[in-house]
Structure formats: C-alpha cells, structure tokens
C-alpha cells in the first residue's frame, strides 16, 4: 500500500518538482540571442564545456533503465550481467579518435545528426534516410524503457491502481511535464538536470556500497549467497563466474554494445553539443567514472540475493518483474527518507536520457526527413519548430507504448534496437575514416545486416518464449557442434560489412556513379577557433537561405 511509503513519496515528489522547475528555468541558462535555431534548441548552442559535457553524456548513456536492469540481470543470471562493465570500458578508447573527427566535420558543415554527415559524405539522401529511420526506430523503445525504470520505482512505492489508466497516471503526468520543459528549453534542460540526477545517484550508490555490505555481513557473504542461489537453480547459464559456453557471448556482447553505443543518435547529440575537441577527448578519460558506478550498481543484484529480496509480480499472471529488485532492496534496507532520495535518483535518472533521446530523434526527423523530403527550403526557425513538435510526438509515442502494450514489447524492441543501430556502423563510424565503400554497397550491407540480425533474433528461444528471447544466438543453429552462444549484433554487422564490400567492388567494376564527397580531408581535424567552426557561424553550406536574425 502506498500509505506505508508516504515519506518516500513526499521526498520523491519534492525532488521531482525541483528538477521540473530547473527544466523550465534552463531556457534562460547560457541563453542565446535567438532560440529559434536547431543549434540552440537541439544542441544547446554547441558550446558546452568539460563539466557540462561530462554530466550530460554521462547522464545520457547511463540511463535509469541501465541502473534498474543491469542489477536485475545480475540478480537473475549472475556474471553474465556484469558485461556492462567491460562494455563501458572498451567504448572510450574505441571512440576516442572517431568522435573528435566527427565533431570537427560536424561543426564545419553544421551537421546536427549522424545522417547529416552520411548524406554529405556519400552524397546520398537515400542512405541518409536509411540511417535516420534506423536511428529513430532504435531510439523510440529506448525512451519507452526509461518509463519502465520509473515504473519499477512507483511499483515499489505501492503507487499502483486497479485500472490501466490509474496505474499509469503518475507516469503520464511526469512525461507531460518532461515534454513541456523539453519543448521550451531543448537540450539545456537535460544538461542542467543532469547535475542533480548524477549527484543524487553518486550519493545513493556510495552509501549503498558502504552501508549494505556492512549490514549484510560483508562482501564474502554476499558472493557466497549468490553462489548458493545459482548452484541451486537449474538454469545452465547462470553463476558467479562465466562458464565455457557463455564466454564468447559475454565478450561479443560487451564489444558489440560498445560499438553500438555511440551510433545511437542521442549519444552523438551530447558529443556535438560540446565546445571543442579537447572537451571530447578529456571526457573519454573522465566518463569511465560512471563505469565504476555502474559496476557497483550491478553488484546491488547480489546484495538483493543476500538480503532475500523477492521481486514483485509482473504484468501478466505468474511472471515476476525482476526490475523491482533494486527498488525493493532499498526499501527493505534503508530508512524511508533515504529510500525516497534513492527513488528520486532513479526517477530523475529516467528524465535526462528521455529528454535527450527525444531531442535526438526529433532532430533526425527534422533534418533528414522533413527538410530533405517535405520542405527543402525550411528556414532555421522552421527547423527548430518542427523539431520541438516532433519531440512531443516522440514522447507521446513512448508513453503510448508503455500504457497500451506489454512492457516486455519495449524490452524486446530495445534488444532489437542495439542490433539494428549497429548496422549504421559502416556508413557512420567507418565513414569518418574512409570513403572506400560505395553508397550502394552501404545500402546493400545495411539490408543484409538487418535481415540476418532479425532472423537470428527471431530464432532465439527460451523455456518461456519461442522467439526474441534474448540476444544470445546458439551457434549450433549455424550447424556448429557446440553449446556456445554469440551476440547477434556482431554477426549481423560482419555480414553487413562483407556485403557492403562485395557490392562496392561490383558497383565500382560496373562504373556506377559514386557521388561527390561533400567533406574535405581537412574538415576532420578542425577545432574551436577555426574561422569556419566558431559557434556563431551559421553560414555553413547547409543553411544557405536563412534570413539574418
């Protein structure tokens, strides 16, 4: 019952109101002369320094869903759930140089989305459209999942109702507020709120990581309890360590997820909003602080085992909602005022990424669909306006996903999202380095990668589900005599690269036109202070018919 959680609910609501206020005030923070431009609304003026970028990108990549789902995975499967740690270590050296180059070329040409870059690099609106749609489709369920994060907290506080509407009303209200201040303040809102969100999360986790082991008898006991649980369970893949059959899955999942992360449009939004190349490179060294946090949060799953937490029942009969284990652990172990703070940290943690993701998806629509196909002569102010409205539509869509569909559907989609966003790797990430691939080859590779990826995901079954039961593909389905599994995304992107390469050679042999590269070699190294990079300069090639404000 919610009455037992009154203190928690009050603290949660107060902090929620505080950040909502900040969200509206953010429009005036580092205010530009003219907000009616995508660079201002959608990229915060492209002028964020090291600290803001750290909070913004950190708050963006390490989402509420991550904080709820990773420990839930560790709670359920053990070592396998810890893949999030190598994943978020490998990512930064991997993109250290790539992102700096992408920043430079984007600032010289006024690119707002990865598809903008692809369009100019490969001279292909079709390829750009493919990249844009992939980005939007991959991002939508991710936004919906942030709601799953909030819902886990609300459930633990006993805020549930009989009817569908009553159960979802708090979330609808929360998202309406979020939509309103994102509409008004753009990227500045999540950037400002991220300070509160991350501070709260750091406090909560530091306390949890010191206080809970003390209460539960120390780390030795916690791992022993987890070991005992997995020994007793019949599932073959779980355990405190990896076994011979899931090591390949662990490594490919970590590596594949790392490749995918910065292909998500919302991660690039944070990167493009930074002031210069040094801010990005320094952040690649500083962002792993969040990985440490994530590693410690993952271990909350074992603490929940040691504390005998039983997850609340799920949406359908006979299932459990394992996402509730961390909120329940806090509720059980902490005084209620501190639980309130912890819940607020998770709840606010959902708002930051949801805002950035909806902005990123809206920018993709505006730049690569609206301006490309619907209204070629759109002014900067019209672009900003379309983006603002699209961000509202995107959020309504996300809420509808949660209210009208089984949340499991969003989780499945997000799993697919990781696989499909990886299919933009050859065009976006490799495109930063080379123009060797033919635009036709890239489209063909994308089709092949998507097709294979979907087929593989469809084939994956579990004792409870026939299809789409995870991302671990059993290699025996390819005819190998083994129990090993592999991450679908890696196989799909390899097929993508192979097809892209073969078709490139074929098209080149057939002398099919390749288009003109809109970028120059020098563009990839330009930095702040370059006469064509300064934030005030909007006279880039792409914004030609813009009336001077």
């Amino acid at each position: 019952m919610w009455r037992d959680h009154l203190t928690e609910i009050i603290i949660f609501s107060l902090l929620f109101l505080l950040v909502s206020g900040m969200g509206f005030v953010a429009a005036r923070w580092r205010a530009p002369k003219d907000m009616a431009h995508l660079d201002e609304w959608g990229l915060g003026g492209r002028n964020f320094g090291g600290w803001i970028t750290w909070f913004l990108v950190g708050g963006d990549l390490y989402t509420a869903y991550t904080f709820v789902a990773v420990p839930a995975l560790v709670f359920g499967a053990g070592a396998m759930g810890f893949f999030a740690v190598p994943y978020t270590i490998v990512i930064y050296p991997l993109v250290f140089l790539v992102l700096a180059r992408l920043w430079s070329v984007s600032h010289r040409h006024g690119f707002v989305t990865p598809a903008d870059f692809v369009r100019s690099r490969f001279d292909s609106p079709v390829l750009a459209l493919v990249i844009a749609i992939t980005g939007i489709v991959a991002t939508m369920p991710y936004i919906a999942l942030q709601l799953v994060g909030i819902e886990a907290v609300l459930k633990a506080m006993g805020v549930t109702g009989e009817s569908t509407l009553a159960r979802h009303l708090p979330i609808i209200v929360a998202f309406a507020i979020l939509a309103a201040y994102t509409y008004q303040s753009g990227l500045r809102a999540p950037a400002l709120i991220a300070f509160v969100k991350d501070s709260l999360i750091y406090i909560v986790i530091l306390v949890a990581i010191i206080y809970l082991p003390y209460k539960l008898g120390g780390w030795g006991d916690i791992f022993a309890a987890a070991d005992a649980k997995f020994d007793a369970s019949p599932a073959p893949g779980d355990g405190v360590l990896l076994n011979a059959n899931n090591q390949l899955q662990y490594v490919t999942l970590a590596f594949g997820s790392a490749l995918a992360l910065f292909l998500y449009p919302h991660s690039l939004t944070g990167v493009l909003a930074s002031r210069n190349r040094d801010v990005i490179k320094r952040n690649m060294s500083a962002l792993p602080a969040y990985s440490l946090l994530l590693g410690l949060i993952a271990l909350l799953g074992y603490m929940a085992i040691a504390a005998d937490v039983t997850p609340l029942p799920g949406a359908s009969e006979g299932t459990v909602d394992s996402n509730t284990v961390v909120p329940l652990l806090f509720d059980q172990q902490f005084p209620s005022w501190f639980t309130g703070i912890a819940y607020a940290a998770i709840g606010i943690g959902a708002l930051v990424p949801a805002a950035i993701m909806s902005i990123a998806a809206a920018n993709l629509f505006t730049r690569n669909i609206y301006k490309e196909y619907l209204r070629r002569d759109a002014t900067a102010a019209q672009e900003a306006n379309v983006s603002k409205i699209t961000s509202l539509v995107v959020k309504i869509g996300a809420v509808a996903c949660i209210v009208f569909l089984d949340p499991q559907f969003s989780i499945d989609l997000q799993l697919i999202g990781g696989v499909i966003i990886l299919q933009t790797l050859p065009a976006v990430a490799l495109g930063i380095y080379t123009r060797w691939f033919h635009r036709g080859g890239l489209v063909a590779g994308w089709v092949a990668g998507m097709g294979l990826g979907m087929w593989m995901l469809y084939q994956i079954s579990s004792p409870t589900r026939k299809h789409f039961a995870g991302s671990a593909f059993p290699l025996e389905k390819f005819g190998f005599d083994t129990q090993k599994t592999i991450y679908v995304g890696i196989v799909a992107v390899l097929a993508n690269l192979l097809v892209a390469a073969v078709v490139t050679l074929a098209l080149r042999a057939a002398k099919v036109a390749e288009g003109v590269d809109g970028t120059a070699r020098d563009d990839y190294f330009a930095d702040e202070g370059d006469p064509r990079v300064t934030p005030g300069d909007r006279a880039g090639a792409d914004a030609a018919p813009e009336p001077v404000a």
Partner: protein
C-alpha cells in the same frame, strides 16, 4: 574571443593533428578487458571480491590511464 589565429594558415599543422604512433596504445584497453582467461576466475580474492569482479573494475583504471596518457602525449604534438 574566438578570433582566427594570426599565425600561418592552419592547414599544414592541423593535418597531422590526430596521427600519432601513441594512438596505438588505445588498443590495450580495448583488447585486454575482452580476454575472459584473464578475469574469469575466483582467486585471488580482494576484499571478498572474486577476481572476476575486482579485476574487471580495475580495468577501468587501465582505460582511464591509457586515454589520459594518449591525450597528453598527442596534445603536445599538436600545440607545438
């Protein structure tokens, strides 16, 4: 504030800016965390943590150190 550099045209010096042999160091924190043979074991334990957990958390330090070193070393080259 962002007045263009009064010095010579930037093309020649910017061109070399992100090419450096030090960049190869970045492969270390990409490859090492992805070798299960290193971390997939129980002993030795550290503060009650099996090796699987403390070693992978320690790789964070490896990653931070490498990116910091590469940043510092390549920055000097560029600013010359």
């Amino acid at each position: 504030m962002a007045a263009p550099d009064p010095e010579a045209p930037p093309t020649a010096s910017t061109r070399a800016k992100d090419k450096s042999p030090w960049n190869w160091l970045l492969f270390i924190p990409i490859v090492v965390p992805l070798v299960p043979a290193f971390f997939n074991g129980d002993s030795p334990r550290l503060f009650g943590f099996p090796r699987f957990y403390w070693l992978q958390l320690a790789y964070i330090i490896l990653g931070v150190t490498t990116t910091t070193v590469v940043y510092q070393l390549t920055k000097k080259r560029g600013d010359r």
